[in-house]
Amino acid sequence: MPVMSYIQAVTQAMREEMQRDEKVFVLGEDVGKKGGVFKATDGLYDEFGEQRVIDTPLAESAIAGVGIGAAMYGMRPIAEMQFADFIMPAVNQIISEASRIRYRSNNDWSCPITIRAPYGGGVHGALYHSQSVEAVFANQPGLKIVMPSNPYDAKGLLKAAIRDEDPVLFFEHKRAYRLLKEEVPEDDYVIPIGKADVKREGDDITVITYGLCVNFALQAAEKLEEEGISTHILDLRTVYPLDQEAIIEAAKKTGKVLLVTEDNKEGSVMSEVSAIISENCLFDLDSPVQRLAGPDVPAMPYAHTMEKFFMVSPDKVEAAMRDLAEF
């Protein structure tokens, strides 16, 4: 089984889907000859040509909107937003159009578009190349938001997103792109959207998280194991709509829950996870639900010391886990 980085798994998923289905195509800024600013579409232009790997004008609303038109026609567009930060001009298209088309047309039309975007900080990307934007979209019924935590999941989830009959936002952590590597099967597999995944079994505390923070939690859990603290880790994988059953089960498992997200704390996806736990797990909890998140400041700072202070890290996760275990 080949070892792949997170970004190679993303590319491989697109390649396989484009080979499988003529209707799948890629559009976005610099996705063609250059292969994307992060190289997510590397090699696709050479393999599939300019008709299927399309360099678009620098216009995010048109990238989404043209993709929506093609999806409603019956194509399978994969639209790339160069950075999640730059998805904002396309919000009207994504929320007002893509997420509502099936509903408002009484199921007569659908919009099977996948919109990929790299998110997240810790890469010295500064204000406009570091943001987490999932919460902006995470209360829009009709949309699905997928955020994989490792290369294996990235491939299987992206393939599922491309095949999904509804619009999917697919956020890839840009720091994970080259940081995370593992064995990824060459064969065709999909991971179901909407299902969370237990990444580690444990009995003392539960960490619920997604994206790159899953890796941080796994690192921290290893260390705490040496101290005799056993950690249960649930990876949400899909942050909208949430897998409520898995969340409730994971919370009840240990009765002590830490929610981790890199996004700003207030109004994050984790606020909703916390509400689900409070609605369902009152008598199973042994401590208040804890949240570790980015601070409620408008943007990721550029200054190195400040960026480090902002970012969730393995050390911070470890400290928060230990505090919870000792509660």
């Binding site: 008709q51 678009t56 004008p57 216009a59 609303s61 048109a62 989404a64 909107g65 043209v66 993709g67 929506i68 038109g69 093609a70 999806a71 409603m72 026609y73 019956g74 194509m75 567009p77 001009p89 009207n92 298209q93 007002s96 159009e97 088309i101 099936r102 509903y103 408002r104 047309s105 009484n106 199921n107 007569d108 039309w109 659908s110 019924p141 009709g142 699905k144 999904d164 009959e165 509804d166 909407g194 709509p241 949430l242 409520q244 059953e245």
Partner: protein
């Protein structure tokens, strides 16, 4: 710019041919008259139904019948139509079902469903969002190698939106078979076009994108038909997009919730000759006015509208719990549970 983009006319306000030597297709004229009359009857009926509380808020298109009928009649069956909320005159003419169109204005999602094989997108309500869709669909048709075109409607206000410019640019770069059909009805709710833009025309906006653009008298159905036909032909032949500005006039309010006397100068629009009156004058001038046929058409269409209203009103009431249908292809488990809990709340679980 007005000189560079003169308003193209086939007939004047008196229904006289601008070029007396031009040959008129009498069958076409009758068809245009038929459809314009039909959609006018629908429109007036809808206003009346709204006033009686029998349908919801309604945006009339009176005054724009020539622009809508003339343009949509230039299309073929396999082409694509992207309407806004004020373009159901065009979609009705293209083949949308009249009962469903009434249902739409009575708040029913079923109203968005076009007849099988009719490529009519659900009407866009956010302004200009449908413009990139028409580019995407046209691009897909081009890639597939068909000769189908996509015609997208939008108003004067929409030309201020980013999606208008992004869509035009994209269509220009990829030379998609898209016809951008603007109905400049002079008002975006209460804001006159003179305040919407400093540009003297909308057609000139195509220049920046190297898109052939024309300005046509939107109340002259023959001129609209001819210019749209040319644009459609170019698109079919792989010659790319066209921008058409049809200069017209919104006779009534923005919607039935709006009162234009609050913002329009009193006499404004009084001199505008209604497109149907113009066509009537032309038909009389050209000896195409057959009183018996006219009366027959009138009766037939009034009856069609009445029957459609009755069918709309007898349509089964919406089942409240259908509210949860079609959020996704398959209902997520928790949404199903939510549905159950809402039903429990009203004692129907």
């Amino acid at each position: 710019m007005e000189e560079q983009f003169p308003i193209i006319k086939v007939m004047d306000d008196e229904g006289k041919l601008v070029d007396p030597d031009v040959q008129i297709d009498s069958e076409l004229v009758k068809k245009l008259y038929y459809h314009m009359t039909r959609i006018r009857l629908f429109d007036r009926k809808a206003i009346s139904l709204q006033r009686q509380g029998r349908i919801g808020t309604y945006p009339p298109y009176e005054g724009q019948e020539a622009a809508q009928v003339g343009s949509v009649m230039a299309l073929n069956g396999g082409d694509w139509v992207f309407p806004t909320y004020r373009d159901h005159g065009a979609t009705l003419t293209f083949g949308a079902d009249m009962v469903r169109t009434f249902l739409y204005w009575n708040g029913r999602a079923e109203g968005c469903v076009p007849p099988e094989g009719k490529n009519i997108f659900p009407a866009a309500v956010p302004i200009a969002t449908q413009i990139p869709h028409a580019v995407g669909t046209a691009w897909a048709e081009k890639r597939k190698g068909t000769d189908h075109v996509a015609l997208v409607y939008f108003g004067d206000g929409a030309t201020s939106e980013g999606d208008f410019h992004e869509g035009l640019n994209f269509a220009s770069v990829f030379q998609t078979p898209t016809v951008f059909f603007n109905q400049n009805n002079r008002y975006a709710i209460s804001v006159p076009v003179e305040k919407q833009m400093h540009s003297k025309t909308i057609a000139q906006k195509g220049l920046a994108y190297d898109i052939p653009s024309v300005r046509v008298d939107g109340n002259d159905v023959l001129a609209v038909y001819e210019e749209t036909q040319k644009a459609v032909k170019r698109a079919r032949q792989g010659e790319g997009p066209t921008l058409i500005e049809a200069v017209t006039w919104r006779t009534g309010a923005h919607t039935t919730a709006d009162d234009p006397t609050k913002y329009r100068p009193e006499a404004q629009g009084e001199s505008v000759v209604h497109p149907l009156d113009r066509l009537e004058r032309l038909m009389k001038n050209e000896n195409l006015w057959d009183e018996a046929w006219i009366n027959q058409v009138q009766l037939e269409l009034e009856n069609e509208v009445e029957v459609a209203v009755e069918a709309m009103e007898n349509y089964p009431k919406a089942n409240p719990e259908d509210l949860f249908d079609h959020v996704f292809e398959t209902l997520p488990e928790q949404l199903d549970e939510q549905k159950q809990s809402y039903l429990d709340l009203i004692g129907r679980g």
